[in-house]
Amino acid sequence: VSLTFLSPAAADPSAVARSPMERKAKAAGARFEARDGWNVAVEYPGEDKVPGTVAWADVSHLRKLELQGEGVSGELGEARREGDAWICRLTPTRALLIGGEHTPPPDAVEVTTCFAALTIFGPQAREVIARFCALDLRPQVAPPGSFRPGSIARQPGMIIVEDTDRFLLLFGWAVGEYMWTVVDDAARSLDGGPVGFGALKKND
């Protein structure tokens, strides 16, 4: 018996991995494409018309690994960039690695499907998050590269400040649908809308 059952990447290509927000994205008109075994929302109708206020994208498919042991590095409250991945220290002996494709350390535990994820970006991104989260994300307090675990919409979660107006939110997989509803409600009131993976990449 091994821990392979934790890893979505170990599934046959015939099996399609789905985000917990997929049904919400479908209802919003998303067009999906298979990407690395995942059904990924790549485009929404009229997403180019989403004004430059705020947009959000489902990035639940990002790989997440829990690194364990004394060798875990990084500062508390800091998200360290390593290639395409973020490394966020949770405790003295635990860290979360998000994204990236490099070979995981042997002791790492695959937790990709423990956390759903949304990227919220745009000039009003901070304002949208303030509608459901009390974490202090002011630029002077949480500059790019900050990592803030805390309550998001009354659920345990984490926020990585990826850029000045870009935030990666991580939260429990099972609350994905709820979280989409909350973000959608807050962002739409500020003229925001969902965007596909393509638009997100353009923002990189």
Partner: protein, 900 residues
């Protein structure tokens, strides 16, 4: 009719007319008007009826401080007309008056009911006969109150918003002092938010976010909620500056609530900001120059000042100036009475300390302007932990000590807006009450509490301000003590003979301003966990219910048939809600040995063992299965509802014991389904290369294999009593694996089953549900699981000491099964009685079992009755019935099916 010519600084735009209705009648206003100013300009003097006596009330403060002009706007009650800006088409209605504002039949309580309605009359009058209380309550609730919330509220669609804002400095109050403090902080480079509730726009201040027309509601351990329109800002600041100013106080005299009695600030605001004349002929009563300045401004606006009663003993320069204009200024005089039927028609003035009609002067007037001094608006500061003291020279309570990080500036700190110390010597302290005997003298306009009521409360023993507050409800109305706290304290001091310092103030509590409940509630979202297969359950028509914080499929329309399908063919249930923990490290086995009463360090990789978690006191707190993955890794499942608590429990002990163990919560990361039934093996075999034969995949084996191409951990366990496979896999494949199993089982009679049939099935096996069949007193010995406690373990474990004790004692009650021949399914919680009819136990689970065709259940019964064949009596909501005890599982008691 009362509109004045252009006033310097007026807020209205005379070029734009706004139309709205008041009680259905059209009203014209100017842009910039408030509802109050527009109605006053339209000739309205009565704006509301009072809470208890239904007396007429008119504009008093024109600043949103008092209760006198509360109306309903577009169906929403509790709106202050004097600060609510007019909007085109708005629908304004009066509150608390039937059939109308001008003729209110409940006014009878004032005319004839006075002697029968002292404070607390409802405690004394409406208590007998007790059975009539529902009628009394209905009548009282109908008679009192400040408006009615519509039962149907289609406009609930209006959006309310929470917004969290962090800041370095929060300044509350946008007057001169507040703006100055905000500007200074911004210049220091601090992130500043300025909150102001006034109607006058504030010029932008660089580096300061200004929340205009916004009210700070309270101070909650550093968080200040600020209500602005439809948004509640939750502001967390490192430092708080309160520039909340001071509140002009009314005077207590006979008829002081008549429409036409107005605070000097209110009369001036009406004149200067909205160009509305508050009256044509006024009498002014004041304790300071403030009232004299108001008199001068009103005179400038064309109001004839009939007389000014200055409560001070010496004539100030301002008084001299008024006299020079031909205005009669009566030094050392007070107002004794305001007279009039529907509004002020005259005012009676007399010298302080001298009584008698001979010294009283009566002036015809339609306006009485009063100024009883100022009380610092300290409520928010007091909520933040500030302390006060009584300042005899000013006749009010002032700030004494401030907590760290909290600053007071401006009038609230005793420094006037011009920056100079307030001239305490120029203020007269008014008498607690004047004109007693001429009519009702109101101390509290919100709650209709008179000076006489305060006196009565003291006579009845409520002789502290806090007790009197609770008895008379003084300071408990919408003004939150702004208008009435100081007068009530003065009256209390007079009646008890105490000093004002000794009387003290009432506790300041939020909210500081009236706020709609919808604003406090925010957006109506309720966190819900859903398994990754949830969408499928909805498509299958599942009856979805809450189960803890999860939304779960309770059944798919026919729980009995679903249970039978598990026995006859196969069933599939989503059990993703189970808690799932990965325990890894060289000490993992020992760690679990310490947490559970049984052993896990000797469990072989690939095998599963059931475990019960007990508390320090040896009581059952959770249960689940543990599969050993490899030498250093265990996969622990917990109950759905206990997942969070168990994870915390494990983490807590791990931190304490400092063992070489890592704990990872996989609860939300893995989906899990239970495939059970005689055809389960066939179905599984279709989707995996694993040898599923009974010899290769035995009961309590845990194996990893691909199912429909997805790597899974398959646990052969049997919660529902049939051959079963609990299949765990990455949550992203929930629908994929579910669909594959349903498809593979289609020709084998598979059916999805929900929580309810699962409960039937597990009850047939007498598998307990922790929290339902057990409570905080249940031990493994009482719950018929003594075999799980390994007191011979080398290692100490949680609850060992207590369990050793319980092992030596016969439990008073034991958990057993029972059957009921009469077919009645007793309520869970029904009472087990002894021969004398005394309660000795209770039913914890009960169902009709379709496969057994009888009613079965579990109950705690006295130990002497906990043997097969014993008869117990169950009392269920008036019905008693005999049940037969059974100690072994109802279905497959030897586990042959389970292990097959």
């Amino acid at each position: 009719v009362s509109r004045l010519a252009n006033q310097p600084g007026e807020l209205i735009n005379r070029d734009k007319v706004i139309r709205f209705t008041f009680d259905g009648k059209p009203v014209e206003a100017y842009e910039g008007d408030t509802v109050g100013s527009a109605l006053y300009a339209d000739g309205r003097r009565t704006f509301s009826r009072s809470f208890k006596y239904h007396r007429r009330r008119g504009l008093l403060c024109c600043a949103g401080q008092c209760p006198n002009c509360i109306v309903a706007v577009d169906g929403a009650p509790g709106v202050r007309a004097c600060t609510e800006p007019v909007r085109e088409g708005m629908r304004v209605e009066h509150l608390n008056a039937q059939p109308g504002l001008e003729l209110d039949v409940m006014r009878a309580t004032d005319i004839v009911g006075g002697p029968f309605t002292p404070p607390g009359f409802y405690y004394k009058t409406f208590i007998r006969p007790r059975k009539l209380w529902p009628v009394y309550e209905k009548v009282l609730r109908h008679a009192a109150g400040l408006g009615v919330l519509p039962k149907q509220q289609p406009d609930r669609e209006w959006r309310t918003e929470y917004r969290r804002r962090h800041a370095d400095v929060l300044v509350v109050g946008g007057g001169t002092a507040g703006q100055r403090a905000a500007s200074a902080a911004a210049e220091r480079g601090e992130d500043v938010v300025l909150v102001d509730e006034g109607p006058v726009p504030i010029e932008p201040i660089p580096g300061v976010e200004i929340l205009a027309r916004a009210s700070a509601l309270g101070y909650f351990d550093g968080i200040v909620p600020v209500w602005q329109c439809d948004t509640l800002h939750q502001i967390r600041a490192r430092n708080h500056v309160f520039a909340t100013g001071a509140i002009e106080q009314p005077l207590v005299f006979a008829g002081n609530d008549l429409p036409g009695v107005m605070l000097s600030g209110g009369a001036v605001r009406l004149t200067e900001l909205y160009a509305v004349s508050p009256g044509s002929r006024a009498v002014v009563a004041t304790t300071s120059d403030h009232g004299l300045h108001a008199a001068a401004k009103l005179a400038d606006a064309g109001v004839h000042i009939a007389a000014v009663a200055d409560l001070r003993e010496s004539r100030s320069a301002a008084a001299e100036q008024l006299s020079a204009r031909g205005i009669e200024v009566l030094i050392g005089h007070q107002i004794l009475e305001a007279r009039g039927r529907t509004a002020v028609q005259a005012a009676v003035v007399g010298p302080i300390g001298v009584e008698g009609a001979s010294v009283e002067k009566t002036f015809d007037c339609d306006l009485v302007v009063v100024s009883g001094g100022f009380a610092p608006a300290m409520s928010l500061l007091l909520q933040a932990g500030a302390r006060t003291r009584y300042d005899a020279a000013r006749g009010c309570f002032v700030l004494d000590e401030l907590p760290p990080g909290v600053t007071a500036v401006g009038d609230v700190a005793g420094v006037d807006e011009a920056g100079a110390d307030a001239d305490a010597a120029a203020v007269a302290v008014p008498p607690p009450v004047a004109g007693a005997g001429h009519g009702k003298c109101f101390a509290c306009l919100c709650e209709d509490v008179t000076a006489k009521d305060i006196k009565l409360s003291v006579e009845e023993g409520y002789d502290s301000i806090e007790l009197s507050k609770r008895y008379t409800t003084v300071t408990m109305g919408p003004c939150q003590g702004r208008m009435c706290q100081l007068p009530a304290i003065r009256l209390m001091a007079k009646e008890t003979g105490q000093s004002l310092e000794q009387v003290g103030t009432t506790t300041a509590r939020p909210p500081w301003v009236s706020v709609p409940m919808g604003i406090l509630a925010g957006r109506p979202f309720e966190p819900a966990k859903r398994s990754s297969i949830h969408g499928r359950h909805r498509e299958l028509g599942a009856n979805i219910k809450w189960a803890g914080d999860w939304r779960r499929a309770y059944d798919y329309g026919d729980p009995q048939a679903e249970a039978l399908a598990v026995h006859r063919a196969a069933g599939l249930i989503d059990v993703s809600t189970l808690g799932k923990l990965l325990v890894r490290g060289p000490d993992a086995g020992e760690f679990l040995d310490r947490l559970y009463p049984n052993r896990f360090s000797d469990l072989k990789p690939g095998r599963i063992r059931y475990g019960v978690i007990s508390s320090d006191a040896g009581r059952i707190v959770d249960d689940g299965t543990i599969c050993r993955i490899d030498d250093d890794t265990f996969y622990v499942t917990t109950t759905s509802s206990g997942a969070g608590a168990v994870e915390e429990w494990f983490s807590w002990w791990l931190a304490d014991w400092r063992m070489r163990v890592q704990l990872t919560d996989l609860t939300q990361g893995l989906s899990a389904v239970n495939l059970a039934g005689p055809r389960a093996r066939d179905i599984l075999a279709e989707l995996t290369d694993l040898d599923c034969s009974p010899e290769a995949f035995k009961y309590l084996d845990g194996k990893q294999a691909n199912v429909a191409g997805v790597p899974c951990l398959i646990l052969r366990i049997g919660f529902v009593g049939e051959v079963g496979y609990e299949i765990h896999f990455a949550a992203a494949y929930g629908e994929h694996v579910w669909d594959a199993l349903m498809e593979a089982g289609r020709d084998k009679g598979i059916r999805p089953f929900g929580l309810e049939p699962q409960r039937i099935l597990r009850l047939q096996k007498m598998h307990i549900l922790v929290g339902q069949d057990t409570d905080s007193e249940s031990t493994p010995f009482g719950a018929a699981m003594p075999w799980i406690v390994k007191l011979d373990k080398d290692a100490d474990f949680i609850g060992k000491w207590a369990l050793e004790h319980y092992a030596e004692e016969e439990p008073a009650t034991r958990l057993v099964g029972f059957t009921l021949p009469n077919g009645h399914v007793p309520t869970e919680g029904a009472v087990v009685m002894d021969a004398a009819g005394a309660p000795v136990g209770q039913v914890t689970s009960s169902r009709f079992s379709p496969v057994l065709d009888r009613v079965i259940g579990m109950a705690w019964v006295p130990s002497p009755l906990a043997s097969d064949g014993s008869q117990v009596t169950i009392s269920d909501e008036g019905t008693t019935m005999r049940a037969e005890v059974q100690t072994r599982p109802f279905y497959d008691p030897d586990g042959e099916v389970l292990r097959s």
